[in-house]
Symmetry: C2
Subunit: 136 residues, 2 copies
């Protein structure tokens, strides 16, 4: 039977309250301040479990280690090719409907059971775009 642990609670709470997309390492460093005895293995272990339970999602990065996201609102991710930052982009109702209908149709065609979709955008974020301008 599943048992309570303070560590799991803190990990989930922290992830749900922050608006960035930390790596396991970053989350570990931050949480260690309020719980010095915390171990990195515990962080990885719980993040994996929380993903399996669908309470958080893992976001694969193109430029570094995996990131984790506790934001339950429907959104897609923009990853900056330069600084590696992730930005949440929220969809309107219309956009969600359009996407959903396309996905649904596609999954039917492929004869597979579609469960989840993730959309990634890549490019340069506002900050990095401006830096490029200055340098050039």
């Amino acid at each position: 039977m599943k048992k309570y642990s303070k560590q799991r609670e803190i990990i989930l709470e922290s992830l749900k309250s922050r608006k960035d997309h930390p790596t396991a390492e970053k989350l570990f460093m931050d949480l260690k301040k309020q719980m010095p005895e915390l171990g990195i293995a515990t962080v990885y272990r719980n993040l994996t479990e929380l993903c399996e339970e669908g309470l958080i999602i893992k976001v694969k990065s193109r430029t570094g280690p995996d990131r984790y996201d506790g934001n339950e609102l429907p959104h897609i991710h923009f990853e900056c090719k330069k600084c590696g930052d992730f930005i949440d982009i929220y969809l309107t109702e219309t956009q969600i409907k359009q996407m959903y209908s396309i996905m649904k149709k596609l999954s039917g065609e492929v004869e597979a059971e579609y469960e989840n979709s993730e959309i990634y955008l890549t490019g340069l974020c506002k900050r990095c775009k401006n830096i490029v301008k200055k340098v050039v």
Copy 2:
């Protein structure tokens, strides 16, 4: 100055001709048959370069090492949660237009310079779905 190499040519050709999404390791194993002196570092090195040049794309997997794709037609990827297989899904003209317009709009809102989008679907592929049925 960039110099020709037989290795790079073979890697690119091979990737363009096959319809799967091999890992660097798989590609290396296969190519070693026709070029026994090939080294794994050369494969990784060239795959990275070819990605930077935009001739192939890297596909991040949820269940294993990165995969590479030389298919230049616009398509999205379906990853099976069970067997880890990737399936290409082709979009119709209408679907591409819809997607593109949404992406464009979103990138404007986020004040970032949108360059690329990738859409991942996850779920169970036909084969794995049937296995589940049999077992249950």
